[in-house]
Subunit: 478 residues, 2 copies
């Protein structure tokens, strides 16, 4: 098999020795690790298709992988898979500024696109914290978000078209037209976590860089005051470009990280608020935001006096996850979503979970979106602590689901949250989703064992290997 | 069958006499007419499900219908269908301003939602020209747009969740959560033109009414100057809430309509431009827009001096389709999309088609989106003229497809443009889409004969009546 793969992609583009494969036993979700069967590095759509055809013919499952920065185990093997790394498919294929679009290969790094068009006044809007490392292909798989999604939307709002290799090796074009008629298959594939095929080219929308930007820090004694300010800013009809929150423990962490801002150590919470657009009116928007913060007892408001200062604040915020490593030997990042109005209530329930499980929890939020990132700290050397941290995470997600929220805002379900899908979906709702997957991926060779909870998986395994009778599948479930 | 339907919905909620059925032989696309088998008017999700189960059991096809304002024949029978009218499911079920959402039944009229929340400072953004009559259920079916979609997006960007009756009568909930994990089935169903099931409840996003709005008319001698101004406004990084264009013939029509503005009769084109948002900065945005218009030789710019004047301009614009009836006995509305940058070229090709076919064509555009609405005038009493008008429409769509655009921006494919789908999609791309439909609608009982071109239909008819083997279907096509 290795020899056949080498014939597809070249001798230097296949890893198969155990020591080489170890780096691919997981992505940035590190609680489950399985060494893949091999790793291949195609350079083009055609090479990818050839690899997939080869694997498909032999019934060998496979996993697309970007930069491996995913936080839910979407690129982690479950046993026996070949990883198809898109790392060498890292080219910017086309830039069309007149129609504001670019075509990239999936291994192209998110931030590189903005850098490539910045001098012409454009940028690529979705900005995950990992944007210096993560790939646009990975972003498509996970429908990645970022701090500026409040105003600009997530990856799916910026993807116009896809070239995809289906799990049988056929190449299809999806979308790429303005207002494409028929079903929205691009929207369906974005966020499908590699379970429908391997995306090999992506047409994305470019945005004109806003003329002006204003950034302020609003520091509060109490996290509840900050939460109420968030709700009121949105209720006032202001749509900030970003509206981020960190609580006391998160502030402690980032202040020990690479980019300290000098936050007072006794803060309950800080809001990092940014507005952008046409220069005129920005100052007035900030004034109104500050007014709302005052109403909620803000202790101090600081405006960025230079682009440099603004960047340092963002660097501080974007290193929050990593910085937690400076105050705890190990930590888990969770990713839940709640209606903004439930923020104060959910925070106190997170605090309760923290006490019950005996694990400290720092909170970083895309507050404007109601997207929480609890950072659950533990010490893996202490028996039982990792388990309690995992339980705390799962309980937090249950709270999110209970208040009408979601178990993931931007990190995906992957391996990690398959069981938590039950908090949101009935068996039959999951069945509709798996039936959709069958259309693209009937033998479940492409990233098996992701997204859907295990009983659904068992049911799949029982069915005939050659495709599925959709109606029978639906009949069984309704 | 009629008796059984009456048992489901009551005696007064079933039409079956030929004279009663005539009103349902088509929607606002009037070139094809087929009388339905019956029309039923359920009042709830449960009644809808009961009707569908009854029809499904007997293998009788059915069609969901809103207000019948659709322009592509999406609610027109093809032969033997029962129409399920949602006209009595016209209630606003819930308003949650804190989380900015409302739940409506599908027969609820678009404009009524804005009216219901206006005094609290909110509105529902998608605003098709027919918004006084069209229903939100119909908007979901067609993924309807409107003049303000340039800034605010189309229906799919405003739908958060759906309750749907599947074609076998089962009820499913799709979406409704913030950032729902798994596949985006809401996005898949929105715009599926009633081919996946019957939507019976819709959760939509409400928007805060912008604090300020500024509206100007920019009148040009030449349509090409106006087109270039459109491109340059967008290129300047300004995102107007609306950017509408009418050409000379369209202006002639609207000036004879119910809401004349008093446009000079020799204008080449008029732009209706609106910016909205926080009050501060709006005047400056308008100044910059006017500057761009001046660069392109604008003859006159007029700013709305009152809300009343602004409304009168919009009324004028929104009656454009109907007003064409004042200058021509019959007309067809087309709906194509092109990259903004190709506007001048496409306009001259439309003019050429108009001369070749001997039919006058007025042009109304959502210019900012590149969404064209050629209004093709004809006299049905003159033999051959209707055919030439239809051909002209089809040729215009071919031009749109050639320049990288689309055959529909917001009116849907319906019955009208099934064959034109070939301009955009290969057989295998259409097959992926029909395979997706099979998941929801395996026996093709729900709105058959819509969206997909006829050979695909024939293939469907040949397959076994009880569902489809998806893999086999895909095998046959790839």
């Amino acid at each position: 098999m290795i020899a056949a793969l080498k014939r597809c992609v070249g001798n230097d583009a296949v890893l198969y020795r155990h020591e080489d494969l170890l780096a691919y036993e997981c992505d940035a979700y590190t609680l489950k690790k399985v060494v893949p069967r091999a790793v291949v590095f195609p350079r083009s759509t055609e090479e990818t298709a050839e690899v997939v055809r080869l694997l498909s013919k032999r019934g060998i499952p496979f996993i697309p992988r970007g930069a491996g920065t995913g936080l839910s185990g979407g690129a982690t093997p479950t046993g026996g898979e070949v990883i198809i790394s898109l790392a060498r498919m890292n080219r910017l294929l086309q830039v069309d500024l007149l129609n504001r679009r670019a075509v990239v290969q999936p291994g192209y790094i998110n931030l590189h696109l903005t850098e490539a068009v910045a001098d012409r006044g454009y940028y690529y809007a979705p900005d995950p914290s990992s944007q210096q490392a993560c790939t646009i292909g990975g972003n498509v798989g996970e429908n990645a978000g970022g701090a500026h999604c409040l105003k600009y939307g997530v990856t799916t709002n910026h993807v116009l078209g896809l070239t995809m290799v289906l799990p049988d090796g056929q190449i299809v074009q999806l979308g790429g037209l303005p207002d494409e008629p028929g079903y929205d298959l691009v929207g369906l594939v974005v966020g499908s976590e590699g379970t429908m095929g391997i995306v090999t080219e992506i047409t994305v929308r470019l945005e004109k860089k806003p003329e002006g930007v204003r950034t302020v820090l609003a520091m509060f004694d109490e996290v509840s005051e900050a939460s109420e300010a968030v709700s009121d800013i949105i209720a006032a009809g202001i749509l900030p470009a970003a509206l981020e929150m960190m609580d006391n423990l998160a502030i402690e962490a980032v202040e020990k990280g690479t980019f300290p801002v000098g936050y007072p150590r006794d803060l309950g919470a800080v809001l990092l608020i940014e507005v952008d657009g046409i220069t005129e009116g920005l100052d007035e928007q900030i004034e109104r935001i500050v007014e709302v913060c005052r109403k909620h007892g803000v202790r101090e408001v600081r405006a960025a006096s230079s682009e440099e200062e603004r960047k340092s604040w963002w660097n501080n915020r974007k290193t929050a996850f990593g910085a937690v490593g400076t105050i705890s030997p190990d930590y888990l990042v969770q990713d839940g979503v709640i209606p903004r109005s439930r923020l104060p209530e959910v925070l106190s329930r997170i605090e309760k979970i923290s006490h019950e499980k005996g694990v400290r929890i720092a909170n970083v939020f895309h507050a404007g979106d109601g997207n929480l990132h609890p950072l659950i700290m533990f010490d893996a050397r202490i028996p039982g602590e990792e388990e309690r941290a995992v339980q705390a995470g799962s309980e937090i997600l249950q709270v999110c689901a209970e208040v009408g929220g979601s178990i993931t805002g931007e990190h995906g379900v992957g391996l990690e949250k398959r069981e938590e899908m039950r908090y949101l979906f009935s068996e039959k709702e999951i069945a509709v989703q798996t039936a959709i997957r069958e259309v693209f991926n009937p033998r479940n060779l492409c990233n098996p064992g992701k997204i859907f909870p295990s009983p659904a998986r068992c049911a799949e395994m029982k069915r005939q290997p050659k495709g599925i009778d959709t109606e029978k599948a639906l009949d069984a479930l309704y």
